[in-house]
């Protein structure tokens, strides 16, 4: 049994197994079951669509955190013609929770920076489960400045539960590192594309998340804090996490509506982990399309657009104006 099957995926998984079974049976017994298989396959598509069309945010969160969900390194491998990882912040260390480097996508030089989780327990410890220390954010900034110098677009992949909350991280200025990145990224003179590929956890996500386009994968989430933390802090009850995941409006669809993200990238049926190659194809296409558009802008236009983009986030009441309207 595959332990990585999520509850709501089970019906699909079971249909898949049955189809597989029939196929094997057909082969072994040399009996034609094509029609039956086709029926089951149709059913599976339908069931899938039904399930994935009305996923609860909590379920989306599960997909975003799925242990088999493709990682930054997977996408890099799938979309780049060539890629060289570059290491280190030149100050303190090389944080493996953030991966960065230079490469070519269809011949276009790019700098790619992303949170990097592990696939094994050992690698996850090494990568700190994608939770970066200040040196991770500073490595990212170094590579972004380098990209700016060489007029290279920047692509970031967000996939972190959050910045690491630990003694060393605080000592070395986690807050300063993130703040500095927000400030500097807002004025980099090259296009920046931000993709939320899995978990978008709070300031730790935003630390590499200021860009000209913020695009979420269909089954990723992006949140001011994890629903678990929200439930604990506001309602002192972790059982409320599921409700928090709804209240916080963390899904791609929600955030597109609210105006936080620019686009949602559709995932293959069942999520990116069921077909990383197809997902990477969507991603690559999105990157190239966006770059072509952004490269038509002058540096001044680019920065001005990026500024307004963030300048205009937020919803508040302007009482003065309301009053004026009423007089």
């Amino acid at each position: 049994m595959n332990l990585n099957i999520l509850d709501f995926e089970r019906p699909i998984y079971e249909l898949e197994s049955k189809i597989e079974e029939l196929k094997n049976f057909m082969k072994e017994q040399n009996i034609d079951l094509t029609e039956e298989i086709q029926l089951l396959e149709d059913k599976m598509v339908k069931v899938s669509e039904t399930i994935y069309q009305k996923l609860h945010p909590w379920q989306i969160l599960q997909i975003a955190r799925h242990p088999e969900r493709p990682l930054t390194s997977d996408y890099i491998q799938l979309i780049c013609d060539d890629f060289l990882e570059l290491h280190g912040d030149r100050h303190y260390g090389d944080d493996q929770a953030i991966l960065g480097g230079i490469g070519l996508i269809e011949g276009n030089p790019v700098t790619i920076i992303g949170h990097q989780k592990g696939t094994t327990t050992r690698e996850n410890l090494q990568r700190n489960f994608g939770m970066a220390h200040p040196e991770g954010y500073r490595k990212a900034l170094r590579l972004m400045k380098q990209a700016e110098k060489f007029n290279r677009p920047i692509i970031t992949f967000i996939n972190t539960p959050g910045a690491y909350p630990g003694i060393g991280a605080e000592e070395r200025g986690q807050a300063e590192a993130i703040a500095r990145n927000l400030l500097e990224m807002s004025e980099l003179t090259v296009p920046i594309l931000v993709y939320v590929i899995g978990e978008g956890g709070s300031g730790g996500a935003l630390g590499i998340g200021v860009g000209d386009r913020i695009i979420m994968f269909q089954f990723s989430y992006y949140s001011v804090c994890t629903p678990e933390a929200c439930a604990t802090i506001l309602w002192h009850d972790t059982q409320e996490a599921k409700n928090a995941s709804e209240a916080l409006r963390i899904t791609a669809k929600d955030l597109l509506e609210i105006g936080i993200v620019d686009d949602v990238l559709q995932e293959p049926r069942g999520g990116a982990h069921r077909n990383p190659v197809a997902m990477a194809k969507n991603l690559k296409q999105s990157i190239l399309q966006n770059l072509v558009h952004l490269k038509t802008l002058s540096k001044e236009e680019l920065i001005a657009q990026r500024y307004s983009k963030f300048r205009n986030t937020g919803q508040y009441l302007d009482i003065q104006i309301n009053q004026s309207n009423q007089i």
Binding site: R172, G173, A175, C225, L248, I258, Y316, I319, N322
Partner: protein, 306 residues
């Protein structure tokens, strides 16, 4: 609801306005209630005295207020309201509030948030967790933003972000030095990602402000944490902290939970941050005005050779 709230409050007789600035209308500054009353509110009770959290001394609230909410015995810095802070720093009657019309709404229809806002507004007589405006500090015009921990734990939602961003842009357009005094639990959860994005918004405004060659002094007070620390509070040309203030990205409770061990003595205090290179100076509240004034003086004279 809001109109009522603000009608009921006391007002100054009309105060000086800045006639040049027309991009945004200004609001009359709110009357500062008598100090003793506020102390009582802050102690969440009707006691006339407060027990010092540090030395356990019993201090009369009046005396505490006269001493800028600093324990006269052990120098422990109590939290201070935004209005008291403004009074303690700026020249008398020089403060002109700006962007006071910007107030939080409930964009996500988050359960209980509207009520919480109303409760906090009534409790603090503030519209939101920051007061923004301009004034004179020992004669020097400054743009000033002061957060109030009493309002929803000083959390940053859309309104706080909008007011501060407007202030930063205002300061840039007027070429005024900027002082922001922070105290915050972090981003305001109830506004979800809209809150988080205020970090990027304020930081982007500060980037522009910095590019104009202007001076931003960030003052970090007890407590400053989360998204506020990780944006404008850490981005001062000069970062000043108050003695003993807790300054953090992740708060001590979260860290303790994560690493399951005791935190070092003095961890995340102002003094700890000084030692670790994050703040320029730790300044006693009684000396803050003088320090700011000295820094402003040094920066005002730039370019003039004697």
């Amino acid at each position: 609801m809001f109109r009522e709230l603000f009608r009921s409050k006391n007002k100054y007789v009309t105060v000086n306005r800045d006639p040049q600035y027309s991009d945004r209308s200004e609001h009359e500054t709110e009357k500062v209630p008598e100090i003793r009353e506020r102390v009582k509110v802050e102690k969440e009770g009707d006691h006339l005295w407060t027990k010092c959290k540090s030395c356990q001394e019993i201090i009369y609230n009046k005396k505490l207020a006269e001493n800028q909410m600093v324990c006269p015995v052990c120098d422990y810095h109590f939290r201070i309201s935004a209005r008291d802070r403004i009074n303690s720093l700026l020249d008398e009657d020089s403060f002109i509030e700006l962007f006071s019309e910007v107030t939080s709404t409930n964009p996500l229809n988050f359960k209980g948030y509207a009520e919480q806002l109303e409760k906090n507004q009534k409790k603090t007589n503030l519209r939101d967790a920051v007061i923004t405006g301009r004034g004179k500090l020992c004669g020097t015009p400054v743009a000033l933003g002061v957060m109030d921990f009493g309002f929803a734990g000083g959390s940053m939602g859309s309104a706080v972000g909008e007011k501060l961003t407007s202030l930063i842009e205002y300061a840039a357009s007027k070429r005024l030095p900027l002082v922001i005094i922070s105290t915050a639990g972090g981003a305001r959860m109830q506004e979800g990602m809209l809150s988080l994005m205020q970090m990027a918004k304020t930081s982007a405004a500060l980037a522009r402000y910095a590019k104009a060659g202007l001076l931003y002094i960030s003052v970090l007070t007890d407590p400053t944490s989360g998204g506020v620390t990780a944006s404008y509070a850490m981005l001062g040309d000069i970062n000043i902290a108050e003695p003993g203030a807790l300054i953090a990205f992740a708060g001590p409770r979260v860290i303790k939970q994560t690493i399951s061990q005791e935190l070092p003595e003095g961890f995340q205090t102002a003094e700890f941050l000084l030692e670790h290179g994050m703040v320029d100076r730790v300044v006693h509240r009684h000396e803050l005005q003088d320090e700011l004034s000295r820094i402003l003086r040094i920066h005002r004279m730039v370019g003039e050779v004697s």
